[in-house]
Homo-oligomer: 630 residues x 2
């Protein structure tokens, strides 16, 4: 029944030998690995703006240098990761690179960071996807949390059914997104250059920025710039994905992967820069920022409050034409695919951790459909918890994001630095210098994010990462100790054991016969035990026992307090002392009624006894069932 | 731990031999057996009034003849029950009398009726007790339901601890109640006779009754009189208690019991009559009636709305003096004792039914403290459910009450009639005529209650009683069939059985060694079974197995779908076919971790397998545990 339901929902089991690997050409590898990173364009530029909105109009242009800094950071990280791609042609995730070159705990820290980040990737991508959808269909804004949970549920379900990261699935939405955003950027620039002087999107843009700035004595602080920069760094998440997946490329794997990485970084950097510039030129402010700063006096506030920055720009350039809806649907789709990437990576990394004995081994179990079902379930649980807790607000989730990614960037590149210096290959000085610079810069960024976002959410992640590392440590310790205990050191010294069988009889009837007969096969030292609760019944029991003539003693024990369990436990202790070295087997006759409600009509003393015996050593409990036919 | 908590809460277990019987002299037997019946005075007269309040002042005096009719009914029932007392000196509850003389199903109907009635006794007594308390302390009115649940909880707890129906416990509150009510009645009459013309308690008594009567075209219908009479019949509940408990009297038991019955009936009848008369004379209307009929225009409505009839009369006669509070506390106390009586009788009767195989046998289990704990728990559950459902309103519960009692009166006396006619003792014609009259009259009353109260609650009980009888029937059927199946008919033809032992090994290590060694003691046909999930591990397993040199084959099965359970089940089916007549013993090695959280780090495949094997015949499952030390 349960098996049938499971089959209906998740499909028939798949044979192990069907676990094949798809080799992807570059034009299909790009969408598979880039969806996570490129989709960040949907929220990155808008998150740069939101912290700056408190500063007021005079300092407004600052968003452009910040976007440029992020573009440079993208280039540095991508360049540095190319080295990892060449060094680890079989896949060099930050866990593997850090563990191999910096030691176990660096590896576990990287793993904890990146796992936390996968959870946030799901949460942020899904909430940003819902933002894109709500921009186009504002009536659904009230169902934001429900839509988020639904999206996670659908992606989790597809993954439990064994969805593969097929190029075909990813190509459509990813290319649709890239092409439509470039189209938007090109038409946007054309409108700026050839069109009339553009109307500001937010009509009272200058006044309302002054209004926010009013309360601030210092117009622009370093803290605010860094905070804006930190938010923008969320655009870098997912950039490392190609390094993990080198073996999926067609040969020459590393070269193809490195080229793809370059293309991806270029797309990401140019789009972040262009969208930031268009927002500045068209005087757009993201709806989430209007709400956060309480700018209800903006004309058309109701129209804008649910819109993303990309939606506003697209609306300004194309109006609410069909192409506007293409952009919104493509954005929502690529963001869901980004969440899907985390659903592939989180279970895979946790299964590697489980195989390395740092995570519960159930995470390495491969389910019926050749997927790590437990990892998928765990990720869904955490992502849904986050989305519900933060009410599906992307901007609220951003401070938690990116810390983990940058910690893992730092560790991974520090690992590469150590490796390159150790191996001393051709041009090792140059290469190790690149890794060192990458590591130092990403380390500084991690620090900046941690400090500037600490109070508004980053502390959660900063608390969680060491806790998870500690948990990994404790789990590893347990498994190592377990291994020590279980190892058979002396294969010659296997002892023999003997058993004493004791059958508990509540009376002499057909129901206990199978148990008695079974016990007789177990051992020559075999007894039946009867607990006397009503002394009037004892003679009848004795008489029937003699009639049975089973060649086995019947022990009758009085129970002063009418309890079965107490006298049985006492008797078993004695039996153990009587024959040291013997294992005592308690044979429990058990009725299995025909109808479920009949269960309520029988004493559950067998069950109670089983629970009581659960913690007794050297006692084996055997249930011999008797099936009632009526 | 659990045992310690239980001991702390309920006390140490009591030895079976301490189950002694107290013999009561009449002056102690009266309070023990009469508390249930006599306590009805607290709500009986007021319930007579409430239905009549719709009729208007002109017909007001009608409450007195109704009270007189109830007093006569008390006399008839008591007189008729005296015969039962003499006929059944060992206790003649209506179940026993009906079953013995009218057959099984009449007995079960009486039992179902009286059990339902015990539940209602608890609910009505507790709610009326809370009414008495709230009359004196109206601030607690908002906590009515909570107070009711608390009271049931306390009584249940005391009974689970093994409270005995000791004369000492009952004497205080019962005599306090009887004496204080007689004092109230005497002082009330003195005030009427010697005092000035009494002020009406309800100042606009005549007007407000006219106001209610206004909507009624027919001033007084037979239906209303009968409904009022039916409500008053609730005063008769508990009157049969003495007949059940004859053995508790000092010898000559029957004579003493009959005398006590006479005294009790006299007290009950006189108090019902007197309270009804005083209410009429002082122009009192019960608070529950004012609320039900919406008489908010009564002066001092807020003061009266939470008061019982007895409280109003007592306040009128004594003011809010100390004696008023004595009356209220004594009323509350005797009502709680009445509930306690049901807590003694319900578990006792259900244990008799369980012993007669008409109820789940757990109801006959005697707990640590020599009480039928399961019956006590069941009664508490139902009573609390009723109190919560009816928000603790006595008047709402009354329509459910008394139907059951009168059905059991009718059956019990019909049984007596049959018995007296069969035995033909001295004066059998007279005696049987008395029983017949009693039976016919109580039968008519049962019918009157059922008809007049049908729509406002009695239908629930009329639905429940046959359902319970049907349930008794099905349970009896199951136990009888069970007995047939379990009976050993041929003691000579006991077969021998042989077993095939199969050990499931997930690997070759210390953890499975005990299971392997244990299996070897079970049978010569003994195998180890290894399910191959990762083919790379198989050679290592094979090598270790050979090193172990256990003289037992190792069967290795491939698992196409990575599932352990499927291949195991298939293999067991084959093994069963291979050796027909053999019982297959599946030996499951099980880890017992040292720390609770370690449990989460192990696969639960042993548990899953156990569940999967639960419904397989001819398979015995044995767990051999291995205790981890770290």
């Amino acid at each position: 029944m349960f098996a049938f339901l499971r089959r209906l929902l998740f499909g028939a089991p798949i044979e192990t030998k069907r676990q094949i690997h798809e080799r992807l050409p570059k034009f299909l590898a790009l969408p598979v690995f880039a969806s996570d990173a490129v989709s960040s364009v949907a929220y990155g530029p808008q998150e740069i703006l939101i912290p700056l909105m408190v500063v007021g109009s005079i300092t407004w242009g600052i968003s452009l240098p910040i976007a440029a800094a992020i573009a440079i950071l993208i280039a540095i990280v991508a360049f540095s990761y190319r080295q990892t791609i060449y060094a680890y042609p079989h896949g060099g995730g930050s866990y593997i690179v850090s563990r191999e070159n910096l030691g176990l705990y660096a590896g576990l820290t990287a793993a904890a960071s990146i796992l936390t980040d996968y959870v946030l990737t799901v949460a942020v991508s899904v909430s940003a996807g819902v933002d894109a959808f709500v921009s186009a269909y504002p009536h659904y804004a009230q169902w934001r949390v429900e839509l988020c949970v639904l999206a996670v549920g659908v992606v989790a379900f597809a993954n439990l059914r064994g969805l593969r990261e097929s190029g075909a699935l990813f190509a459509g939405p990813t290319y649709a997104f890239i092409i439509s955003l470039y189209t938007l950027v090109i038409f946007g620039f054309l409108k700026l250059v050839f069109g009339p002087h553009p109307e500001p999107i937010i009509k009272n843009y200058d006044q309302c920025l002054q209004q926010i700035g009013h309360g601030m004595p210092h117009a622009l602080t370093l803290m605010l710039v860094l905070r804006s920069f930190s938010s923008g760094c969320s655009a870098l998440t997912g950039i490392e994905a190609i390094a993990d997946g080198v073996p999926a490329f067609k040969p020459p794997e590393s070269k193809n992967a490195a080229t793809t990485m370059g293309i991806m970084a270029t797309i990401l950097a140019t789009l972040v820069l262009s969208i930031s510039y268009l927002a500045y030129a068209f005087k757009a402010l993201p709806g989430a920022g209007l709400v956060e700063h309480g700018l209800t006096n903006v004309p058309n506030y109701e129209h804008f409050k649910n819109q993303t920055l990309v939606s506003m720009i697209a609306e300004n350039v194309f109006g609410r034409s069909w192409f506007y809806f293409v952009i919104q649907w493509a954005t929502a789709a690529i963001l869901i695919l980004a969440a899907n990437t985390a659903f592939q990576d989180f279970p895979r990394l946790s299964s590697i951790l489980a195989r390395d004995r740092c995570a519960p081994r159930q995470l390495a179990n491969i389910g019926d459909r050749l997927v790590y079902s437990n990892g998928i379930a765990l990720l869904s649980f955490f992502a849904i918890a986050l989305l519900v807790l933060f009410r599906g607000h992307t901007t609220a989730l951003i401070p938690l994001y990116a810390v983990g990614v940058f910690i893992s960037f730092t560790l991974s590149q520090a690992g590469m630095y150590r490796r390159l210096r150790r191996l001393k290959g051709p041009k090792w000085r140059l290469h190790s210098a690149i890794s060192l610079i990458g590591s130092v810069i990403t380390g500084c960024v991690a620090l900046i994010i941690a400090v500037t976002k600490f109070a508004i959410g980053a502390w959660i992640v900063i608390l969680i990462i060491p806790s998870v590392v500690f948990l990994f440590h404790k789990i590893r310790q347990h498994y190592l100790e377990l291994g020590d205990q279980l190892r058979i050191t002396d294969f010659k010294a296997v002892p023999t054991i003997k058993t004493t069988a004791i059958v508990l009889t509540a009376g002499i009837h057909q129901g206990v016969l199978p148990a008695l007969l079974y016990a007789r096969t177990l051992s020559h030292d075999c007894r039946a035990l009867y607990i006397e609760i009503d002394p009037n019944e004892t003679p009848l029991v004795r008489e029937r026992w003699e009639k049975l003539n089973l060649d086995m003693p019947l022990v009758i024990l009085e129970s002063q307090y009418r309890s079965v369990i107490g006298p049985v436990l006492d008797y078993l202790e004695e039996a153990k002392k009587e024959r040291p070295g013997h294992v005592v087997t308690v044979v429990l006759p058990e009725f299995v009624p025909k109808k479920w409600w009949h269960k309520a009509l029988h004493n559950q003393s067998a069950l109670m006894l089983k629970i009581a015996l659960l913690f007794k050593k050297d006692i084996v409990v055997t249930n011999v069932r008797y099936y009632l036919e009526k």
